[in-house]
Amino acid sequence: MPSRRRTLLKVIILGDSGVGKTSLMNQYVNKKFSNQYKATIGADFLTKEVQFDDRLFTLQIWDTAGQERFQSLGVAFYRGADCCVLVYDVNSMKSFDNLNNWREEFLIQASPSDPDNFPFVVIGNKIDVDGGNSRVVPEKKARAWCASKGNIPYFETSAKEGLNVEEAFQCIAKNALKSGEEEEIYLPDTIDVGNGNQQRSTGCEC
């Protein structure tokens, strides 16, 4: 039986309402930012073709509503995820503090087979705001948290300016692919995804 995972990579974007999940997804897939996006209700996803070493994959990026009240729906959407992106707003401490909740909630609801090694990627968004002057979460602090959770790759982005978004998603896609491979042992190992987690926020060496 051909495996769905060979071509489809499922990515879930989580984080507090308003941190920019929908904007990030649209910036990556459609290369645009709009002030007219509506708050996400329920869930939606966008797809994008990505290529690694001559092989095409469909990245399926899921965007859900961020308010806590809607978290119980997650179970229907998180299933079968290959990678989870945790987004916070560098201008909001609360949204950063909540990353831990989002991570745990995801692990409970998606119940991946190997929770300890399930790939996450963290994004600190809205670095453009006020020229960085209203920033409240220091990069160091964010990186420290990522390191403590098993070296989660970390990126800082602006969905509005399109800063670093492509790089972040490249890393997300690679991690999703890696995750897919580990589960599908019969998938030929043709992709070198490396395993370093020391990348700077400007690139993905993951």
Partner: protein, 660 residues
């Protein structure tokens, strides 16, 4: 609620007319035989066989029923007379179009699964022809008698056996096409007896004009409704799970009915591509070419030029629009005045709600009418009382608003819940309908008003607080009401109904999604089974529809129209769930045909946004709702939002609990 009106057909004034028409057409019938093509023999012909395309017995299309033998095959035709006046109220289409829609073109008896005979003690005999595909033609009333003769004639040419389960059902057992044989034996739906059946019939009847003294369902025999289609071949279906056929027959009896629509809404088996195609191709095209090619001028029935059954699904859908009750233009100011007495009371709120249900109101009236629909004003209140209430409410609003306005920055620092709530609202109002002119542009003051109302509401109803989706509800209310405090009170009233959508534990949403799944199971069990098989029974793909009542699925104006229609609670307070069913049914063939899985389905549903035709969906929803009747309501657990507005001091404690 509304009284059922059962009338004997014999006091139908139309009766005389029908008698007359009958004799006329008989005169014409002799030469009819000669117009048949070579090699085809008319073995049975009956004039003045009629269908009733609506629930009004006075609306009738009369025509000629024939059995034609060609070679070894027997065909049935029913062709309406040309140019007859069908007394159609609010007819949207030309009569010829309409008649054409109901015409039964040569139909091989091999396509027929069964014929049910109804011989009620009062009223006219009629038959219902059920096709192998599970679809049924509307009942054919024999105003000149002749049902027995009709069945006898069929029996002379094809095998016709009386059903063991129901003596009034005759099963045509002459399958020539092996494929068809297989299909019909595999896919026969089970039929169930409905406890509330007679009530259903009366509900249907009550939907007709109250002043329509002649509306008549007496000929509907509720006892035969349940069992007749059950056949020995049917083994796989749980009888409690499939009402479609029965519902369909009931439908064909009392409401506007089009074959095409039936296949859309009640398409038994229509997950099967064979069957959906079958409708699109004229079934006689290969089998009886000479009949088809007869120039219509030679045919005394003078059937208007045949419109080919469209193969294009879009065309197909347009045809399907003859269904439910025609929508009306929105209620005007002049009409509105007539509903009020000299002191400003709404004299007959049922009538008003009904009027609004069928057409909405013109935009300029919304500001005046919406507060009634939402329960902000009592229908019995006078101008003076409302004026007084307004002034009280204006003050009340300011008092609640002051509660948060008086929070100092110092206090806010120590008030996390407030800051979070405010932050959430701030983020959402700038994402609410910004493409709509009333809210567009930088620093639009209306956006701030949205913010203030939402924050005030979160103090007014501190337990519920603010939840995403609320700003979607508020936006049209503010646009219509203009005044901040009036928009607030309308919003508060609306949330008395839909507030449970935002319950922390999502219980309100789960209740509605559950009810929706039950309604789909009731009205389209193949679709239900499909969702089950695809693990889609949580119906999360309809989440957005229900949470904000289709706000994101339609243009702004259409949303306002749909909402005022839903708020009438006219055929049901849960009409929005039937709207969901109607949309799903409209796309059921696509969903099943393309074997959509959960993800694909969700995407598909999300992308329907902007593509839903409001009027036809509301008509479908109305039809489904009336059709499902009490059985449908029984699918919806008590307390499912929108809970009943409190009326006449009658408060159900259960409902009260439900509103948080």
């Amino acid at each position: 609620m509304i009284e059922t009106e059962l009338h004997d057909l014999s006091d139908d004034a139309d009766y005389a007319a029908s008698q007359q028409q009958g004799s006329q057409s008989i005169t014409r019938s002799d030469s009819g035989r000669r117009s048949e093509p070579e090699g085809a023999e008319v073995v049975y012909m009956k004039d003045n066989v009629s269908i009733h395309p609506t629930q009004y017995m006075s609306e009738r299309i009369s025509g000629r029923l024939k059995l034609i033998k060609q070679g070894d095959s027997l065909f049935l035709t029913w062709i309406p007379y040309k140019g007859q006046n069908t007394n159609t109220r609010l007819s949207e289409r030309g009569d010829s179009d309409r008649n054409n829609l109901y015409t039964i073109r040569p139909l091989p008896l091999t396509d027929v699964r069964s014929i049910r005979r109804h011989t009620p003690p009062l009223g006219w005999q009629y038959i219902i022809v059920v096709l192998a595909s599970g679809l049924a033609f509307p009942p054919l009333y024999f105003y000149n008698g002749g049902v027995k003769e009709f069945l006898t004639t069929i029996k002379q040419h094809v095998s016709l056996v009386r059903s063991a389960d129901d003596a009034n059902v005759f099963i045509v057992n002459d399958f020539q096409d092996p494929l068809q044989k297989t299909l019909s034996s595999l896919e026969l739906p089970g039929v169930v007896s409905v406890a509330a059946q007679s009530t259903n019939a009366s509900l249907v009847a009550s939907s007709s004009q109250v002043n329509q003294g002649r509306s008549d369902v007496s000929s509907y025999d509720s006892n035969t409704g349940s069992q007749s289609l059950r056949r020995q071949k049917n083994k796989s279906n749980d009888p409690t799970k499939d009402l479609s056929i029965q519902v369909l027959e009931k439908f064909s009896l009392v409401t506007k009915f089009a074959r095409e629509t039936t296949s859309q809404l009640f398409g038994e088996n229509s997950g099967d591509p064979f069957l959906s195609n079958e409708w699109k191709r004229p079934s006689h095209s290969q089998s009886l070419p000479d009949l088809q090619s007869q120039p219509s001028t030679n045919d005394l029935e003078e059937v208007p030029c045949e419109v080919p059954v469209p193969a294009d699904p879009m065309e197909f859908e347009k045809l399907a629009l003859v269904w439910g009750k025609p929508r009306q233009p929105p209620m005007t100011k002049e009409e509105w005045i007539t509903f009020l007495d000299s002191e400003g009371r709404v004299v007959d709120s049922n009538d008003l709600r009904k009027r609004i249900f069928y057409g909405g109101v013109v935009h300029e009236l919304r500001k005046e009418v919406w507060p009634f629909l939402l329960g902000c004003y009592d229908y019995n209140s006078t101008y003076a009382e409302r004026e007084y209430l307004r002034s009280v409410r204006k003050q009340d609003y300011e008092i609640i608003k002051l509660q948060w306005q008086s929070i100092s920055p110092e206090q806010a620092k120590r008030f996390t819940k407030f800051r979070e709530r405010k932050g959430l609202i701030e983020k959402d109002v700038v994402r609410t309908d910004r493409a709509f002119s009333f809210y567009d542009g930088d620093d639009n003051p209306n956006v701030n008003v949205l913010h203030d109302i939402l924050l005030t509401y979160s103090f007014y109803n501190f337990d519920l607080g603010y939840c995403q989706g609320m700003s979607d509800f508020l936006s049209p209310l503010l646009f219509v009401m203009e005044d901040e405090f009036e928009a607030f009170w309308c919003f508060a009233a609306l949330l008395e109904r839909v507030g449970p959508n935002f319950n922390r534990d999502q219980s309100g949403m789960h209740a509605q999604l559950f009810a929706l799944s039950k309604l789909v199971e009731l009205s389209d069990s193949p679709l239900h089974n499909y969702f089950k098989q695809q693990d889609c029974l949580n119906y999360f793909f309809c989440f957005r529809w229900i949470l904000i009542q289709f706000k994101r699925e339609m243009r702004y104006e259409e949303t306002m129209r749909l909402w005022e229609v839903l708020w009438t609670h006219y055929p049901s307070e849960h009409l929005h769930l039937y709207v969901c069913v109607a949309i799903l049914k409209r796309y059921r063939n696509k969903i099943i045909g393309e074997q959509m899985d959960f993800d694909t389905l969700l995407k598909f549903i999300n992308e329907l946004s902007g593509q839903i035709d409001l009027d036809s969906i509301v008509r479908d929803a109305e039809a489904l709702c009336i059709c499902a009747g009490e059985t449908g309501e029984a699918c919806i657990p008590p307390g499912t939002p929108p809970s009943l507005p409190i009326e006449n001091g009658l408060v159900s404690s259960q409902l009260e609990d439900e509103v948080l």
